[in-house]
């Protein structure tokens, strides 16, 4: 009798162990976002313009330098911060001033953000300035997008490809 009870107990406890392992390995299902939403990913890495203008050395300046360092033009290494704005349906939802990376502040400025939006038609307007000496925006793009639920819409930036890239 005791043997039978123990055997039953073992089956129950092993069963409970397997049940817990099996269940929590996929359940409960996680709701990452609402089913009628789409995702906008906003990300770029952009090396902005230098903070100052390059400077042509005069003859006297050059003469003062050791012969192997007589470059006629000096440019500041530090890059401008990147100013960025995103308007969604007429409202500014992201506004960021992104500093250059790197110890010498000569690296690319980076942005990465993702946020869910209601699926459907949206008006998107993005602006970017990458030179402190300018006042207006160097790059802008706007357009109307139609997002289906679950769609990932990427806003990237690539100056060599002419600025903002919508994917």
């Amino acid at each position: 009798m005791a043997r039978v009870l123990r055997a039953i107990g073992q089956v129950l406890l092993y069963g409970a162990f397997a049940g817990v392992i099996g269940y929590f390995s996929v359940r409960p299902v996680y709701q990452a976002m609402a089913p009628d939403q789409a995702l906008i990913k906003l990300s770029f890495s952009h090396a902005a313009q230098p903070v100052g203008a390059c400077h042509q050395r005069t003859a006297e300046e050059l003469a003062r330098l050791p012969p192997n360092m007589r470059a006629p033009e000096v440019c500041p290494r530090e890059r401008s911060p990147v100013t960025f704005e995103l308007d969604l349906d007429g409202k500014t939802v992201v506004r960021a001033v992104l500093p250059p990376t790197g110890v010498a502040r000569d690296g690319a400025a980076r942005l990465y953000q993702r946020f869910p939006v209601q699926a459907g038609v949206h008006r998107v307007r993005v602006r970017l300035r990458d030179n402190v000496r300018d006042t207006g925006y160097t790059y802008t793009r706007e357009g109307s997008i139609n997002l289906v639920p679950g769609q990932v819409f990427v806003i990237d930036f690539n100056s060599r490809r002419g600025g903002f890239v919508f994917k």
Partner: protein
């Protein structure tokens, strides 16, 4: 506060111990083999993983398909292996945290035991890194969710100039090169885990890294049935151009991911870093003074090495003799490793109460609870005993509540561990008729506070391990109760039955020798 948590937790665990012992028996109680089960599941995962690797293709598109083929076309082996690989990994997390909680609640992390605790903490990170890395390789919808969230989480740290998350912006961004790196890591990280597991048990003598065979077979059978009934499946091929509103998460490995979504990466880093740090310093919170460690008395040590064989933390070593006595070795205690359990004293042949009081200094002893004092306490406690079934109880201070037994005819002495009591004391008490019987009350088998105490006690009484209890001591005058805190109610019952038995026994014939007389034991100096 800590004490309250620990004592409540001990009660809970002890109740569970009792249930599991009733079902599996003391020897195969899974709660006594959590660390060993951790090793075991590691091997289950390693073997099934090697099988999966043979068929796995390391490019983003092919990876998913190769696993699908294995799961469906070869469900009878490949699919089972895949399920075992997943469920074994989950089981490893489950036993790891139960093991950690148990060691914490029973306070088995203080003094020199800090080492096992401290080296246990990185194991958590290695286990998680291995598991999350593994889920990534399937490259299904779940893997995609993990990839994006992990990348964003790591990007929060100021290490990488280019955000890793940009590798997972959309389908066009994913590279096979990154994927090969991940599959390479999935061999490397588990190997580091194994190395770290080995380091984890370095200071533990006779570490149990294999569960009893029955338990191993039972858990494997349970995982096999689970694998056949609910095979591990993928959640559709990854496609970074779309995102799922719902994902089936493995909550053993991914409970932090929803938190990263909700609270942000910085908060979760703080949470992980903070808890890691807290765990690391826990053995010193609050700071407690250590018990004085075992001390060797060279003139009394004959270098037999029994203490060396019995120390649960390898704190005793044998060194070449330094004092000119005609023995090869002498015992040396490393105070950094000694947890003052006294087991070495219980194993030392010179720690015998038959020796005269004046020279009762054994080869090894605990300064604050020495053998001479134990002999005095034994004699004094027995002197007050009267009645037909006089019982001396030696109770381990970490387990059964022996003090509750004190009654007319019954007296209780506390020892640090039952194995810290030299068997010659039982001989001494019974053969000198200081009491009619001796009851030893200690931790339940498999859950000794000092790991090996119950095993050594059992073997010494059975005459299987030195120092043996002498043949002449009638075994029916000894009762051993192996029951920790989960069994407080059964101890009085054991005593009642023991006393009934003692009453029914014929009295011992031997006359008590005069204490001052030279007995054979004295000449041998040992039993």
């Amino acid at each position: 506060m800590l004490k309250i948590i620990q004592s409540a937790g001990q009660t809970v665990f002890s109740r569970l111990d009792r249930l599991f012992s009733a079902v599996f028996g003391d020897r195969a109680n899974p709660l006594y083999h959590l660390g060993a089960l951790g090793f075991y599941f590691f091997w289950v995962v390693a073997v099934s993983g090697i099988y999966l690797y043979i068929f796995f293709e390391t490019s983003t598109v092919a990876a998913y398909q190769s696993i699908e083929r294995l799961t469906h076309d070869q469900w009878w082996l490949g699919g089972v292996m895949r399920s075992l690989h997943r469920y074994g990994s989950d089981a490893m997390v489950a036993v790891m945290f139960t093991h950690m909680t148990r060691e914490f609640l029973f306070d088995r992390m203080r003094g020199p035991r800090w080492y096992s605790w401290f080296t246990g903490v990185p194991l958590i990170a290695f286990v998680y890194a291995s598991g999350i890395n593994g889920y990534w390789l399937v490259w299904d919808r779940l893997a995609q969710y993990i990839a994006v969230t992990t990348a964003e989480w790591i990007d929060w740290l100021p290490f990488f100039t280019e955000p890793i998350a940009r590798n997972f912006l959309n389908e066009a961004a994913v590279s096979d090169r990154f994927f090969s790196l991940l599959s390479f890591l999935h061999i490397g990280i588990p190997l580091f885990l194994l190395l770290a597991m080995w380091i984890h048990i370095q200071r533990i003598a006779h570490a149990r890294t294999n569960p009893p065979r029955r338990l191993a077979a039972g858990t494997l059978a349970a995982l096999l049935v689970l694998s056949l009934a609910f095979p591990a499946l993928s959640q559709g091929p990854a496609n970074l151009d779309t995102v799922d509103a719902r994902v089936g998460l493995d909550w053993f490995y991914l409970p932090l991911y929803p938190l990263i979504d909700r609270w942000g990466s910085g908060t979760v880093w703080a949470l992980v870093g903070g808890s890691g740090l807290l765990l690391m310093v826990l053995p010193w919170l609050p700071y407690r003074k250590r018990d004085p460690v075992a001390v060797v008395s060279l003139p009394n040590c004959n270098g037999c090495g029994w203490c060396f064989a019995d120390c649960p933390y390898s704190a005793v070593t044998l060194a070449p003799r330094t004092d000119g006595l005609p023995f090869d070795h002498e015992a040396v205690v490393n105070p950094e490793l000694c947890i003052a359990c006294g087991i070495c004293v219980g194993s030392c042949p010179t720690a015998t109460p038959f020796r005269r009081l004046t020279d009762l200094t054994p080869g090894i002893d605990l300064p604050d609870r020495n053998i001479r004092e134990l002999r005095e306490r034994t004699v004094a406690a027995c002197a007050g005993l009267e009645g037909p079934a006089r019982v001396l109880v030696y109770g381990c201070r970490h387990s059964a509540h022996a003090d509750q037994l004190i009654a007319p005819g019954v007296t209780v002495l506390t020892v640090p561990c039952l194995a810290a009591l030299p068997p010659s004391f039982i001989d001494f008490v019974i053969m000198r008729r200081q009491a009619d019987g001796v009851l030893l009350a200690g931790c339940n088998r498999g859950n000794c506070h000092y790991r090996l105490g119950t095993d050594w006690t059992t073997q010494r009484l059975a005459g299987e391990r030195d120092p043996r209890l002498r043949e002449r001591v009638p075994r029916n005058r000894i009762e051993v109760f192996h029951g920790g805190r989960g069994w407080p109610d059964s101890l009085p019952e054991v005593l009642v039955q023991f006393r009934a038995r003692l009453t029914s026994l014929a009295p011992l014939n031997e006359k008590p020798p005069h204490p001052a007389a030279k007995t054979p034991e004295q000449q041998h100096g040992a039993d």
